[in-house]
């Protein structure tokens, strides 16, 4: 018993020291810096356009889990859910030459990419799904992204625990071949819990980057003025790393 107490005491000591370090300025800077090292290391090792693994239909997960927001709590959304999202618009705006407002039909008529990939949640679980949609790079080129744009922000219809969900990536990730605006999962229209009617797929990063219930794509030069300035809902509210490749 004594030994267990001593062990618990030691553990508490370590925990205390760690919390002191993480609250100090240098400590929190160091903790944040690793985020950058990971992004640079990954891109140096795999190349900026290295592809995530793609699977076959035999590998599909029978039930693709929905996490975070499972629906959007608004009358507009409930009405759209019934009428097949006939009035849903995806805007492409911000630092672009020609802002776009696309219907689902517009999106479905563009060249499509289908990919069977593994979705990894920050919590630890994984599921494989087949996603179909249009490459984000194609939409950005159609709108003509201005050179001063450094990030692409994804605006969402869902409000999770009191804050509007949003996410962002840099231009490398935005123009990655597997970064798509998906409207189908496993050959059918995107289910409600998985982000109907549109969601992002950013295959080399964790699930919280894959914004659901997508309403707008915004090219910006800086993330400072958006939300609380950390680049995403989870980054702002709980401090998840902005680069979600680990």
């Amino acid at each position: 018993m004594k030994r267990r107490m001593a062990l618990a005491g030691m553990a508490a000591l370590i925990t205390g020291a760690c919390s002191k370090i993480s609250k100090s300025e240098t400590g929190s800077k160091l903790l944040g810096a690793a985020d950058d090292w990971h992004r640079k290391a990954h891109r140096a090792l795999a190349g900026k356009q290295g592809l995530a693994k793609e699977y076959s239909r035999a590998d599909l997960s029978p039930n693709f889990r929905g996490n975070g927001s499972q629906t959007v709590d608004s009358d507009f959304y409930r009405a759209q859910l019934v009428n097949g999202f006939a009035d849903w618009r995806l805007e492409v705006r911000g630092l672009v030459e020609t802002p776009l407002s696309l219907s689902l039909d517009n999106i479905r008529r563009l060249p499509q990419r289908t990919q069977i990939t593994r979705h990894d949640c920050v919590e630890g679980w994984s599921a494989i799904g087949e996603w179909t949609g249009v490459q984000l790079g194609l939409l950005l080129d159609a709108a003509g992204v201005r050179p001063e744009a450094n990030f692409i922000v994804f605006r969402c219809a869902d409000n999770y625990k009191g804050s509007d969900y949003y996410e962002s990536v840099d231009m490398v990730e935005a123009y990655h071949a597997q970064t798509i605006v998906a409207h189908m999962l496993n050959g059918e229209a995107l289910p409600e819990k998985n982000g109907a009617p549109l969601r992002m797929r950013i295959e080399r990063q964790l699930g919280y980057k894959h914004a659901k219930y997508l309403t707008a794509i915004e090219a910006v030069s800086s993330l400072d003025e958006i939300g609380k300035g950390k680049g995403g809902y989870w980054e702002d509210t709980t401090g998840y790393q902005w680069y979600a490749g680990v």
Partner: protein
């Protein structure tokens, strides 16, 4: 000549800090999804290999459930842990600590020799003339340095979706991402097991001198 080379001592203490922080922050991360699977995927507790307990706050970093901070600590300390291990291997090969002290001989693998070593350990008789380490020590240190610690680095890399495009074969080697995660978890506890045995044996064999020697180097 010193009993412990400077490189060994530096690595030993750096590695201790890394392993303790990685282990305790890892338990916090485990609390985010307490189910382990085999293969590429797994998200439904019903398909889990097994569920693990929720680890209490006193055993985790930070001392309360916070996945973001736990991941910050875990991913930061992974760097000195991995590079420290690579440094130790390099130093061990260059200064011949590995071939001289850790490599076992065929003679030591004879059942009668192993038995004698086990009995000596049970009698708490740790004198071993000539060689620096006895057989069980060589085996334990060899497995920790050669299998457990590298396995933590490689399974850790295999869990990372951003690293995967660089070496997809690594994920296949572990039979999928969820298997890699499961192996990561089990190996962490194997290292914890070594940690406990290691400390108990140090306490049973002149602990003050042992710890002092691991700091100052001691005399061979």
């Amino acid at each position: 000549m010193k009993k412990h080379a400077l490189s060994t001592r530096l690595w030993h203490w750096l590695n201790l800090v890394c392993v303790v922080v990685l282990f305790m922050s890892g338990l916090n991360i485990s609390n985010a999804h307490r189910f382990l699977y085999w293969g590429e995927t797994g998200s439904d507790p019903a398909e889990a290999l097994f569920a693990v307990i929720r680890f209490p706050g006193w055993a985790t970093i930070p001392g309360y459930y916070n996945l973001a901070l736990a991941r910050d600590w875990h991913l930061l300390m992974a760097w000195p842990f991995a590079f420290g291990l690579a440094f130790m291997w390099l130093a061990m090969l260059v200064n011949r600590h590995f071939t001289r002290d850790l490599m076992t001989t065929r003679r030591e693998w004879r059942p009668s020799a192993i038995w004698r070593d086990v009995v000596d350990h049970l009698k708490l008789n740790f004198d071993h003339e000539g060689a620096k380490f006895n057989f069980l020590q060589k085996l334990a240190y060899g497995i920790v340095l050669g299998v457990f610690l590298p396995l933590m680095v490689f399974t850790g890399l295999a869990i990372s979706p951003g690293f995967e495009p660089a070496a997809p074969w690594l994920v296949d080697l572990f039979a999928g991402r969820q298997s890699a995660r499961t192996i990561h978890f089990i190996t962490a506890w194997a290292i914890f097991g070594f940690f406990v045995v290691h400390i108990v044996l140090v306490l049973l064999s002149k602990p003050v001198r042992q710890i002092r020697d691991m700091i100052t180097g001691g005399e061979a």
